[in-house]
Symmetry: C2
Subunit: 503 residues, 2 copies
Amino acid sequence: MEQRIHHAGLGAKVMSAEQAAELIDPGMTIGMSGFTGAGYPKAVPQALAARMTASHQHGEAFRVRVLTGASTAPELDGALARADGIDLRLPYQSDPELRGRINRGEMDYIDIHLSHVAQYAWFGLFGKLDLAIIEATAILPDGRLVPSSSVGNNKTWLDLADKVIIEVNHWQPSELDGMHDIYYGTALPPHRKPIPLVNPDDRIGEPYLRCDPEKVIAVVETHAPDRNSAFAPVDETSRQIAGHLIEFFRHEIARGRIPPELLPLQSGVGNIANAVLAGLREAGFRGLTAFTEVIQDGMLDLLAQGVLKVASATSFSLSPKGIDQFLADLEFFRSRIILRTQEISNHPELVRRLGCIAMNGMVEADIYGNVNSTHVAGTSIINGIGGSGDFARNGFMSCFLTPSTAKHGAVSCIVPMVSHVDHTEHDVSILVTEQGLADLRGLSPRQRAHAIIRHCAHPDYRPLLQDYFDRAFRDSKGKHTPHLLAEALSWHERFVEKGDMRP
Amino acid sequence: MEQRIHHAGLGAKVMSAEQAAELIDPGMTIGMSGFTGAGYPKAVPQALAARMTASHQHGEAFRVRVLTGASTAPELDGALARADGIDLRLPYQSDPELRGRINRGEMDYIDIHLSHVAQYAWFGLFGKLDLAIIEATAILPDGRLVPSSSVGNNKTWLDLADKVIIEVNHWQPSELDGMHDIYYGTALPPHRKPIPLVNPDDRIGEPYLRCDPEKVIAVVETHAPDRNSAFAPVDETSRQIAGHLIEFFRHEIARGRIPPELLPLQSGVGNIANAVLAGLREAGFRGLTAFTEVIQDGMLDLLAQGVLKVASATSFSLSPKGIDQFLADLEFFRSRIILRTQEISNHPELVRRLGCIAMNGMVEADIYGNVNSTHVAGTSIINGIGGSGDFARNGFMSCFLTPSTAKHGAVSCIVPMVSHVDHTEHDVSILVTEQGLADLRGLSPRQRAHAIIRHCAHPDYRPLLQDYFDRAFRDSKGKHTPHLLAEALSWHERFVEKGDMRP
């Protein structure tokens, strides 16, 4: 194996994942690397889970509190959840096993704006950070770390934790060296200064993570891939959603509201986001920029073709094919991709300054433009709000995208009243389904209802929504935001009872 | 009357309010000055309302679209609403006549974060701005305006409007000259730069509003007071709320989370806010700062006593007694008060950088920490979200304050599910009622419910809320955020039907 640990003292701390896991105590608060299935520790959490299972078999409690960047993978969230080893988890997760435990009420989960996590940790709101477990690509002679495929909150965990365990992952390309930009200029109020970033590709920090070698209690070498599953091909519904959005962008350019190269794009992960990116290419856009959270396969294509000039993010989320593409043209991509800490990639100051165009998926929207990004029927969490709120609130415009129905038509994604609010009527600009696009900017609640029912609702649900609105306008005590309180959540009730929102 | 119009060309445009109102056409979009009952035009809107009434009597439609800074007064919102002269109003209002029309569905109202208004106008989202009607204290020889008792969106209206009507109000103290700081460094993306403000008292602009004399179609001289009603004395409930919050601040200082001089305070308007300010003085705090929207009477006292070092805002909201106090010690206050545009006073970049402590009232909160700031029973708007969202989302912590009950106990301000969400579970740190304080930071939804029911709910409602939570936890499909959908809004239904939330 190629030598990647260039610090002698840390080289002496190399041990197995099982040995490292022995150094972890029940009740610890642990900050782990990892963001959208990239750059998470792959060995120590599994060894820790094995220890927990053994403890539980002996009737001894062994749970920890787990803080990450965002979602990780089966080797981390899955393994620890299966071992019933997590007391508290934040800020975003997507693991089925973990989600099941949260929704059965067996553990606590806090859903936080991704831009808030690092500062809340610094404020002391999660208690003392006992340990950081951080994946790195390599360790430099002076002990600094070459980050791996995500940055997330690693800077904060390394700075705050009492002890550090480093996983050096030989699977991560050593060519990642130099692609990161770690900003060490943040501070706690009243000592904050302007963040000197004015373009998505500005470098304002340094390429490495500082790490006090004295705090490192173990180094574990791994050779394991990220959770980089291939994306499903773009489906017709996603293509239609993308089409409506891109038509809208052209319209806005024609009206002089946005420049021909748009404004820095923030794009969620998944099929619809990939369809939008592909659609931008097909529509002939060039010279775009991205200031976002995640670099997906679609963005590599756009960079390669000059559609995107530059992409700033905090994480890669590439398929195996995407990684091959990345490595095959490494120097090209190195000069066009920057990975930052998530407190910078999602920072309200920068999102507002750059005027990001936020594009995020959602679970449902109501007829007044409130958006639910996180809950099924108001009670079960799916993944979490992620960074959608950071960009929706502070960006130039906030677009929320979804098919108009789910569960083969049994669920309408446009409802009378959302069962949980993650983005309020004040923060939602544009709603898009395969049916069409509603531009909510400059509209009152009743005008919004008209636009959303007409342009976004599925034809099967449109008459039901219009009927609800008409009766609400007639019978509601207040007619600013007409509602029938006894009926507002009845669609969700029906869905919970019968698996179908339709009466 | 003292000469206040020092520009010859503009002096030639002096006319009566009635003559000026003749220059206004039906259908116009008009940006008016005014923020929390200060600095609004006092004569032209009333003359316009008279014209509208006359037109309506002849069967002719005459309505306009009215954009302001925030709430105004009977002479503006009241007069125009009574004349049925407003088609669309934004972004915040508090006039009973206007509110009645909105809630009867007779006109449109858009409730927007105050920090978003200026940029949305620049983005073109409210259409072309035909006219600005701006109150000023004086006109300088070069045509620039000495602002009056509020700044609000005046810079934006003056820059964007095709035509301008200026009201020079001789009632406004000429000594206001020099107290304002108008920042001309904002831009549209992609041309935005960091805003160079790092302390609440930094001056980053110029004291006057630029105004193209060519656009001015009328100058009207007035001598009329702002809507400066005296505040009610602080009541016992407000004192208790303030007491809990100040005890919490001391606790946070002791834990080293905030400095002894706190962080810049943002404080809503009203009795509770005044109680907090008075409480801070009595508790011995010194050297505090305010970065807020409104200077109330209470802040003058605090400045005079050295409790506050400096206060930055976008408006005065002083009682007649407060104005006397201000004028009696003018030089002292001039050096300690800065009035800015509301895009700066509420700017997310600055609120986050300074780490403001946001303190705002609310209508109701639910057991999971979602806050309703705007609606009665989900349908009738009260005033609007104002700047509470700007500070709650981006500040160091967001405190929401309310008595635990309203309507003599018939309404609980802690409910199972709020009937409208203005601040989501992700954005609410601290809830305070006269019963106590719940620190929601770092808590999961179920932990929040425990804290809110225990510390904030009124004893009459506490068992009802606990019972709801217990049954929801038992019966809810998802137990991350347990709810009984059929019952979640039943308290509001009962209130609408019977005027009482109690079963």
